[in-house]
Amino acid sequence: MPHRSEQVVFEFSRPGRGATAQWPVAPEQPAADLPASLRRSEPPLLPEISELEAVRHFTRLSQLNFSIDTQFYPLGSCTMKYNPKACNQYAMLPEFLGRHPLAPESSGQGVLACLYELQEMLKDVTGMRGVSLTPMAGAHGEFAGVAMIRAYHRARGDLARNEIIVPDAAHGTNPATATMCGCIVREIPVGADGDVDVEALRAVVGPKTAGIMLTNPSTLGVFERRILEVAKIVHDAGGLLYYDGANLNAILGKVRPGDMGFDVIHMNLHKTFSTPHGGGGPGAGAVGVSERLLPFLPIPVVGRDDDRYRWLAEADLPQSIGRLSAFMGNTGVLLRAYVYMRMLGREGMSRVGEYATLNANYVLARLRQAGFDAAYPERRASHEFIVTLKRQARELNVTAMDFAKRLLDYGFHAPTTYFPLLVPECLLIEPTETESRETLDGFIAAMAAILVEAETDAARLKAAPYTMPVRRLDDVRAAKQLDLAWKPAATAVGGTA
């Protein structure tokens, strides 16, 4: 990792310079018909730089990142597996890239066939009856899912059901989504064994229960063993079950949310189906539903009449929760997931769950031998697991954050830290199935070495990292003295918000 910083792009700018090969020829006629009152008077602050300067600047910036292509990235709950290059290449064929979203179906049978088959494969692998591909991220899929639950109750005239039950270990998006859908959040605790507290669930369900949102395996990295009982309790109370697909990688090809009793599920195609995370998007949060939620799927959905594919919209799904994207979600991401699923094939699906689980349990076993504490030592790890540094924090005064930052110096991206919030000083570690044993051993060795450092020279950890382009950043200053946009030096102001 280059131990340097890069100027802000505007600092290269020189008036009169430009990547002129990229510009269209100036029109013969100026836009005389546009009235002065509607025209711009001052040009926008955009850099004036050559093409080479732009290429170097952004290439050098890319080199300041960790990524899957360059580093092991065991970020729990994020499934940072290898993104096969073929998925990118074949989603970016010129005909796919050039196709306008409102082009007629007759000029889109190829792309629609891919999307239709993707819907079918996702139905099969999740055990659901229908799929809509339109949500553009996991949280967007969550929104669609809870909105469908609400629409279902409303359509039955069951208007009092506005409570969504969420375990306290849930992703922050779960309660945030429930709120966005106008619901009230009821949190229930997780027991000491990592499973949902079933008695607490019994106590909270009732005529106001709209549904429950669960991740299984849970965010604690263990399979919810009493899931069938949970499903019965919620269904008997008139509620529906929502499956947060963040951890679908753990069970791919082994068990299906539909068979567990879930009524609606979102899948993170950027996790389980290996589309790239792109530095924070684009994702794709396809949703799957059971029979009773079919009428409410967000539009558009791809349908097939004999050999022709077409969009199903309001006329076909009049009870739909509606349109969630301007056009058709993140189609390019969906094509990548399609290519991935076809390359894995039927037998490849279950291998994902198997080897993701093998890798997680291997790293957990070896870390325990090295002196780390598992948060749930009596449980099998799923595709991920939690190490708690509570003991080290007490005895050595080092935190999970210190370990995370020091790992960067060893060339490994940090695991997820401080999530789930209910496990103190936690590292949530998800190796994924695409990592080799040698890589895992390297990570285990680094963790062991850092533990020795913590015991002998804790101060060294507290100030890590040392080899990154920057050292620890002043987040308090960032929030207090907001600097959110570059300004020319002469007019630069700190601005306190």
Binding site: G18, S67, F96, G138, G280, P282, A326, L335, L484
Partner: protein, 458 residues
Amino acid sequence: MPFIPHTETDVREMLAAIGAPSIETLFDEIPASLRIQGLDAIPPALNEMEIGRLMSERARQDGRPLAFLGAGAYEHHIPSAVWAITTRGEFYSAYTPYQAEASQGTLQVIYEYQSMIASLTGMQVANASLYDGGSAVAEAALMAVRAHRRSRSQRILVPTTVHPHYRKVAAATAGNQGLRFEELPYERASGRIDTAALPAYSGEDLTAIVIQQPNFFGVLEDVDLLTDWAHAQGLLVIAVVNPTSLAILKPPGQWGAKGADIVVGEGQPLGVPLSSGGPYFGFMTTRQEYVRSMPGRIVGRTVDLDGKPGFTLTLQAREQHIRRGKATSNICTNQGLLMTAATIYLSLLGPVGLARVAETSHARTQQLAASAARLPGVGVAFDGPRFHEVVLRLPRPATAVLAEMAAGGVLGGIDLAQDYPELGPALLVCATETKTAADIERWAAALGEALAKTARAA
């Protein structure tokens, strides 16, 4: 095994370290009744050569028709460098920059993006992008409700000159939280918001008005008048803008006496391929005073332990992973990769190149409108100034005409019959800098022939 590196020896030794006899044992906490046996709908695996052949066949099937389509997604030249750099693994396969020290590349690109998009829209602060233009309008409506200090009505005026899909997305997204969207009609002659309808709203408790510029018809609204009216009534102004147009059109920050309050739009024209509808990105900018009401990721510049400048996610106290049920939004990501492409695009085009794109697109559409007007029975629907789209009236329903043109490899425009039946047979047509004079002649000839043929059929 595709993308799984384990050898048999690896598996044996790893299981031994775990103390498990087989991989199957690792699933022993899952109730046996739940285990599935097989997946019927998933075909056997294809290798890269085979999937490459299949995808190439599918792509060929879709072809590359000559398209004059806009309505929120626009064909522009994309410099080769944009995606050559954007698809570098260091950008493509990184995640949200939670570990700032190991993500300075992504973070600095976001900071540069925020700087560019804020200036382009004439506003002070930007977020790191949203899903797309439609969802950005929905988020802007929700933000207006949070930011407005007095209005409790959650009523938002949305003219019918706003993209019909954006209106639908806003209703589907924000309707669940009790927001009400009320339609404002447009003037039939000009295609602009009917200002005669405004006095009826004087004195009402309203939260905001949405103004799209150029509007869905490609027509330019009288944004100064509308903004001043809205502010006089105590409404916030949500501007929905085309980023290319802002190289030559007045930025929302300068609309009227005080400027718009929240600005959103579809970022796709800035270096993002059409790709059947996505992935695109939505942009959002606002005044400094509303920054804490803004949803989504925001990057700030700060210093590290040694006092060296660096970049980090900031104002995270607004977000779901901290606030959970009380967050400004459930949004968890931005459209990072697309925003990266846009930042590179804007750096290559610069202020001069982007203005050329805008002016050339405008000029091509003017040429197209002029050649359309020469066809018998075809007329330009609205008389006001426009950017790079035009509504044409046809002498007979557009469906058959468009099908006829498509059969000849020309996508002639977008049929407005479903969303604007009151216009009669009408097409929304777009030409950008990618269309040559010869392309426009081909379009006009195809339209002329299709009209003649459908007239005979009738």
